[in-house]
């Protein structure tokens, strides 16, 4: 499999995508971030007690198709999104990037994340977990078809709301 993977995509290429994405999210360039996604993309945050569940049968924290994800971005850019106004400062550390499979035009990849989040008048909060991605090459560029941010915390607890993009 590694040979096939090697012929279609390299880990460095996937890492570049993840690092660019992390930068766009940390700098709140959300429209540019949306442009990294396919037109049929999904964004999931499973519930802490059912990290492997399917959003059709299980109540997730976030389960956005691209339509709702675009609405989420409209909301996040609005000063009336009170949970993110003033905007959080976030800093994402992405590591342990691996290509986990290639099936047709879908590249599966995973990575670990630590997201430090700072807010005026608020606790410092640390979101720790891993990503599972489905990536598709479109017009020579890697695009995100699905991203799943799976938190390690047993419950959200003092992490509170997931009001920014994980």
């Amino acid at each position: 499999m590694n040979e096939i993977v090697g012929s279609t995509v390299s880990r460095a290429e996937v890492e570049d995508l993840f690092y660019i994405e992390a930068d766009l999210l940390d700098t709140w360039r959300l429209d540019e971030w949306l442009a990294l996604l396919t037109d049929d993309a999904f964004y999931y945050v499973p519930p802490n007690d059912k990290p492997d569940a399917d959003a059709r049968y299980t109540l997730f924290t976030i389960a956005d198709d691209i339509v709702r994800l675009r609405e989420r971005i409209i909301r996040l850019k609005d000063p009336n999104c009170h949970a993110e106004y003033p905007l959080s400062r976030t800093r994402r550390l992405i590591s342990n990037v691996r290509i986990t499979g290639v099936d047709g035009d879908i590249i599966s990849a995973s990575a670990n994340f630590v997201i430090h989040r700072f807010r005026h008048n608020d606790l410092q909060r640390v979101f720790v977990g891993h990503y599972r991605y489905k990536i598709r090459r479109q017009g020579g560029r890697l695009k995100i078809a699905e991203r799943r941010a799976i938190l390690d915390a047993e419950e959200l607890g003092l992490l509170g709301s997931v009001s920014f993009i994980l």
């Binding site: 059912k50 009170h82 993110e84 509170g160």
Partner: protein, 429 residues
């Protein structure tokens, strides 16, 4: 005459001036919290869980109830129990998992084991105890009272409390309106728990859960999302909200909003967010409701949204979807919230997916609205640091109107909570 009261009472009502104030000390004081635990949480019926969560013999869930570690479980004979998760020997938790199916509960400290109905099963080295030691007395302690209404289980730590149905009173009708969505009268908690802390006093979430006055200012981004999706959310001239709803007193401190629906209902009112292909299915569900309940009752079930608060700390919001959530104070300025989605057991895969999608448009820590509620409550709690200088929260909206004409954007229903809270705090002072 001054608008705001002087003095140090917690709740001050002045019908002549049409004012109702709550002293913000009740949101910050350790003494008040200690007294609430004794006077309210130890005497009221508090939510434990739903029968559907422990469907099979041996199934269990562990969770805090009124601050106690509880095992909510079904024994081998199918009986439901709420056992205090505390070994009779030296006090350790006898079950440390979130959920599962158990043949027995095993205390890992010294190895005492208990049956799923709580009876003591075995004690290593039992011969070291004197003749008075009796296995029959030394089972796990059950909550003093455990009763259910339509599969919702509640505990009471006061053995002498009125029975649950008497306690719920008129709130039962509003639970029925939720359960009637199911053709078989069986609802289920859907898998996936939303469990999060809010750095604010627990009573603020009671107020917020039923407060429709905040919708326009706190949730404008959600309204935009609905509008962008083709839902008509524009209030008629002279109104604050898209529809004119009411806030109701259900007795015993229970209260609800009762609003004509505009935001869609999985059972059974279509909105554009659901997509064109859902229309026929929603129509069929509506027809089932009408044939089962008659058109008037079907309209009550399908055309109204109701945010119901069962005193003191259970909220069932039957709005964009159904959420069951309860919360308990960790400290005066912090609460722990546990919330689920509820749906009819017979929903098809498509119907269930639609319900969950609708849930996340508004509710939960990643929803389009709840995070802003949390932000509002936390902002209020930060403001309360000045409770001595700015002591009064104002809940006077609608004070000049009869109690049966309170709008959901008035505060009459929120005053119902506060009057009952004050009564219990004073009775047991």
């Amino acid at each position: 005459m001054n608008y705001q009261p002087s003095g140090h009472d917690f709740v001050v009502e002045n019908p002549e001036q049409q004012t109702f104030f709550v002293n913000r000390e009740v949101f910050v004081s350790d003494d008040v919290l200690a007294h609430e635990k004794a006077a309210i949480f130890d005497h009221c019926w508090v939510y434990v869980g739903h029968a559907s969560e422990i469907k099979n013999p041996g199934d269990f869930k562990t969770r805090p109830v009124a601050g106690r570690p509880i095992i909510f479980c079904r024994d081998r004979e199918g009986e439901v129990h709420a056992l205090i998760n505390c070994c009779r020997h030296r006090g350790a938790l006898v079950c440390r998992e979130r959920e599962g199916n158990a043949r027995q509960f095993y205390c890992m400290y010294h190895g005492w084991t208990y049956h799923p109905d709580g009876r003591l099963k075995s004690v290593p080295g039992a011969d070291a105890y004197g003749p008075a030691f009796d296995n029959a007395e030394m089972g796990l302690v059950a909550v003093p009272r455990l009763e259910s209404y339509r599969d919702f289980y509640f505990a009471n730590f006061d053995r002498d409390a009125v029975d649950l149905e008497g306690y719920l009173g008129k709130a039962k009708e509003y639970i029925d309106l939720v359960v009637d969505q199911s053709p078989s009268g069986k609802m289920q908690i859907i898998s996936g728990t939303q469990e999060y802390d809010i750095r604010a006093n627990w009573k603020l979430l009671v107020e917020n859960s039923v407060d429709d006055y905040h919708l326009i200012s706190t949730h404008s981004t959600w309204l935009n999302y609905m509008r962008n999706s083709g839902v008509n959310v524009t209030p008629p001239k002279g109104e604050l909200l898209p529809t004119r709803g009411f806030g109701k007193d259900l007795g015993n401190g229970h209260l609800t909003t009762d609003n004509p629906n505009y935001r869609g209902r999985p059972v059974a009112k279509w909105i554009s967010v659901y997509g064109e292909d859902a229309k026929a299915d929603i129509d069929a569900m509506r027809n089932e409701l009408v044939s089962r309940l008659g058109s008037a009752r079907a309209a009550r079930v399908a055309d109204t949204n109701r945010n119901l608060c069962i005193f003191p700390n259970l909220v069932i919001n039957d709005g964009s979807s159904v959420t069951v959530r309860h919360f308990y104070p960790v400290a005066p300025d912090r609460m722990h919230v546990i919330a689920w989605a509820l749906g009819p057991v017979e929903e098809t895969e498509a119907q269930r997916a639609r319900r969950l999608h609708a849930f996340l448009t508004f509710y939960g820590p990643g929803g389009f609205a709840t995070p802003d509620d949390v932000a509002a409550l936390e902002a209020a709690q930060l403001g309360f640091a000045a409770w001595r200088e700015v002591p009064w929260s104002d809940l006077s909206r609608g004070m000049g109107k009869p109690r049966d004409q309170q709008l959901a954007t008035d505060e009459g229903h929120i005053r119902v909570f506060w009057r009952r809270w004050n009564e219990l705090m004073e009775t047991r002072a």
